[in-house]
């Protein structure tokens, strides 16, 4: 066990799995960097955000495959490789770029098993960066995981800390279905205790971050840490919140949320996706369907407003759900009668 960053945990998971299974390889733009630049040899970048650092030195160009800027070809080649028995980890540098290659993800990779029967197993991981918070503006800051989760055949995970990032990525690589692995760019430098050995965090299993009795707060990705930051303020107000990190959105640990809401009678979801058809609204819809009689108050979802992510730092700060809004919403729901 040692202290590692979210970024280091992701790299370590890939290295461990590439050592374990020769069929695992990584493909993407500038994942080593520097190819074709005169006499330059070696790794120039290890990914624009350093998320593949050291892989090229360890495994070489055969299994750490730099590509042109060509997301459709990358995603399609990864889908075809997975269908043919390899286990690709394809990097979609920013999740915003899904718009140029989604056909290969949702019409191809996600459907192979259904369209072709069991022979269509597609063990593919798409690692992709989500989230606002570092000033990347409208086309590099989005969190389109609700769109991914809407697609039958895709699995979707949103690790909120270094431990889960490593364990979920190992599980995703070993999984036999396509997994959208959503890495939050604001969390890359986050530190935490992470075992050195290999371990799995199972897909579809949530985690109770903090137990409580008055309200269930389900927080996704970056929102988990922000919600944890509210605990002291809520306790000052005499509110005991139960905080759940679902970790996986698809499959989703519905039972964990139902059990919690049956105990607390209240549900608040903190979700960084766009509000219309957000993943949070799906959670509240399921809760209304399944445990309506336990509810003592309306359910509520906190998301950004229905607008693109702005570049200006003050606007971006106003865009994201923050501690004040979380405390205010919690206060409202726990005092509802």
């Amino acid at each position: 066990m040692s202290i590692k960053t979210y970024r280091e945990s992701i790299i370590e998971a890939m290295i461990l799995e590439m050592k374990r299974d020769e069929k695992v390889f990584v493909i993407g733009e500038d994942i080593s960097g520097g190819r074709g630049c005169g006499d330059f040899e070696g790794e120039a970048a290890g990914g624009p955000m350093g998320l593949t650092q050291g892989l090229w030195d360890e495994f070489g160009a055969k299994r750490v495959i730099d590509t042109p800027i060509s997301e459709t070809a990358i995603m399609g080649a990864a889908a075809g490789a997975a269908l043919s028995g390899l286990r690709p980890i394809a990097e979609l540098m920013f999740s915003d770029f899904f718009g140029v290659c989604f056909d290969q993800i949702y019409n191809q990779a996600a459907k192979f098993r259904f369209m072709y029967g069991e022979q269509g197993a597609t063990p593919l991981v798409i690692r992709t960066m989500i989230g606002a918070g570092i000033g990347c503006g409208p086309q590099h800051s989005q969190s389109p995981y609700s769109i991914f989760a809407n697609i039958p055949g895709l699995k979707v995970v949103t690790p909120s800390n270094p431990y889960d990032a490593k364990g979920l990525l190992i599980s995703a690589i070993r999984d036999n279905d396509p997994v959208m692995f959503c890495e939050h760019k604001s969390l890359l430098g986050m530190e935490g205790e992470v075992p050195d050995d290999s371990y799995e965090v199972p897909l579809g299993k949530g985690k109770i971050i903090k137990e409580g009795n008055d309200i269930t707060i389900v927080a996704i990705g970056q929102m988990v840490g922000i919600t944890q930051g509210c605990v002291a303020k809520l306790e000052e107000k005499g509110i005991s919140a139960e905080i759940i990190d679902p970790r996986s959105l698809s499959p989703f640990d519905e039972d964990m949320v139902y059990d919690s809401v049956e105990k607390t009678g209240r549900l608040l979801v903190i979700d960084e996706s766009n509000p219309v058809c957000s993943f949070g609204s799906w959670i509240t819809s399921m809760v209304s369907d399944e445990v309506f009689s336990s509810l003592k108050a309306p359910t509520r979802v906190l998301t950004p407003p229905h607008c693109p992510v702005p570049a200006a730092p003050n606007l971006e700060a106003a865009y994201l759900p923050d501690m004040d809004r979380i405390v205010e919403a919690t206060d409202y729901l726990t005092n509802y009668s």
């Binding site: 070809a73 080649a77 098993r113």
Partner: protein, 324 residues
Amino acid sequence: MQLSKDKLLDAYTRMKKIRVFEETMRDEFAKGTVPAFIHLYIGQEAIATGICVELNDTDTISSTHRGHGHCIAKKSNLEKMTMEIFCRADGLCEGKGGSMHIADLSVGMLGANAIVGANAPIAVGAALKQRVLDENIVSAAFIGDGASNQGAVFESMNLASVLKLPVLFVFENNGYGEFTGVDYHCGGGDIAGRAKGFGMPSYKVDGSDFFAVQEVAAEAAERARKGEGPSAIECVAKRWYGHFEGDPQHYRTKEELETIRRDFDPLKIFRKKVEEAGLVDSKDLNMIDEDLSSEVTAAVEKAKNSPLPNVEELTTNVYEKGSY
């Protein structure tokens, strides 16, 4: 290179099987027995066959919405394939794929694809087995002239060229992208020439002539196996029928259809060549004709009499069993 008699008979069998099968499907569709759209491969038999005779069982192909011919040329199981077209439970894809999504991984057929051009990157992915695992593999993508305009196809050619992957980009120029002529839809009009721009050897051949296709397929496949990268082959052929069955083809004249069926029949061209050169006895070919006719009829009858999938199967195979 002179082909052996066995190889010639094999090629004829594949081409003729495609023809008989598609004629049977045409008739079945007209009778209303086929539960989905079908797109006939008649007129292009020499392309799928000319390519696939140069591929091994472990080599792969990715196919199009017009995929029956590719399945047969890659020696997919005819009974199971027919069942799939009739959406039956025992079909290759358990009835959920149908005509436009047939796959048979057991023979390296990575799937028909109903998204035009989307199969090209998939073929590139299969070819990565050469790079990652040092496997001996050639991966062919069949791409229509309509699909040749898709970005996915251009990106695939570039990536395969950059990574020197063993891919054959087989352009089947049958003159039409759906209901639109190639003269209108293809800027510059030279599909093979575009491929050259990506830095790969590129051929333009008579796609009605098996020997023209096979000869360049052999060259391209050999180069691919040696790790020398992709090639493109534009095969110019004729589409004998509509875009799909039921297409009234208002955009074509009766004379055009009569002419192409008279002058661009891949089977007639093949027979004439092998018989005139004395390579194969016409009796052998006639025997193949008879055998195939009964094989196809039996497969269709069996498919029609086999059950549709159980309704309980509606939500299976979305994810690996037990994982969701």
